[in-house]
Symmetry: C2
Subunit: 200 residues, 2 copies
């Protein structure tokens, strides 16, 4: 193997680990499978990471960050409230159907974290992070449209997060795109009914 800084190898291993997880699931992402995916000898692993858990932590946090920034870009744009909601939800759904594996891994990592002592905080932060983004976007959309939400924004953010999570999970199981999109539209319509002219 050509010489390479440990830092760089870490990055490649993290990327390789993610690829293995997407292809075969989190449980199958063993040190040997990861190292093999990265085309490195086994010994490299514990030279770059203290433990497999350390690698998984890194994967989870990077994954969350990437998802969040992707979501932010996804929800950008102009237009009135209705078309903006429709477009945002549609864009989100595009990412789901485009790369289902990553979303599936996201759930697996969450459940893995919930079972692993010392990892629960990571799962908690992950979901809190998502909700914060939803909240920002709801507030921004309300601001741009000159309305206010009839429901406290934190509640609305949690609702939105839950619905999108649920629809995604259902689709991962039965791949029924048609019905999923209808549910998405239903959710969009619901959001619209919760917008009312700004008071004061």
């Amino acid at each position: 193997m050509s010489r390479m800084a440990a830092k760089d190898r870490r990055e490649e291993l993290i990327a390789a680990a993610l690829r293995v997880m997407i292809r075969e699931g989190v449980v199958k992402a063993t040190t040997r499978a990861i190292v093999n995916e990265a085309k490195m000898p086994l010994g490299v692993f514990h030279y770059c990471f203290n433990s497999r858990e350390e690698l998984l932590q890194e994967v989870l946090t990077r994954f969350t960050d990437a998802t969040v920034t992707a979501a932010r870009k996804t929800f950008e744009g102009e237009g009135d409230l209705g078309s903006r909601i429709t477009r945002s939800l549609g864009a989100f759904w595009g990412t789901v159907e485009l790369s289902p594996g990553e979303h599936q891994v996201s759930y697996e990592l969450t459940h893995y974290a919930l079972r692993q002592a010392g990892f629960e905080d990571l799962a908690r932060r992950q979901y809190q992070h998502y909700r914060e983004v939803h909240q920002e976007l709801l507030e921004e959309a309300a601001e741009a449209a000159g309305i206010e939400w009839a429901v406290p924004v934190p509640v609305l953010a949690r609702y939105l997060n839950a619905v999108l999570d649920g629809i995604t999970l259902s689709w991962l199981v039965d791949r029924d795109s048609e019905h999923s999109r209808e549910v998405l539209r239903l959710t969009g319509d619901h959001l619209l009914t919760l917008a009312r002219p700004r008071a004061a």
Copy 2:
């Protein structure tokens, strides 16, 4: 060990497996852990089951059936549409907060099934089963209240299933009961707005 029919032992092993899964997660439910939980020698396992997968199949199907029948009872009752919806959602939520472990296992089993070749159908059937129940109950509620739904019932059933799934998952992560209940109430209100006087 006192003598016992293989059929009976199967049942005890299935029950023991479920207990282990709830306590330590699906991944940790090894043949030895299960057999240990049931206080039986290891050899019993492959005398009663051809493989660990066969045991897991049994656990998943029984779990699904039990959840479905429990859900049916949960949603029974009288009253006008509004109070009936509120009570049903509240009852469902009661089961979640009462036995979070079982719901957590449910998700873990679903993701396990999605990764295991030949198990995808099991996951599919699980979700289809849930949706059917939701659909029945929505139709029954509409019948009793003399209304019809403004949205195709299959879509509404999928929506309901998705929301409940999402709320549950969020709560499993951060245990925020207060906000979860508010989201639940929001969903109930939403359903009510989708009821309209029966046409023709």
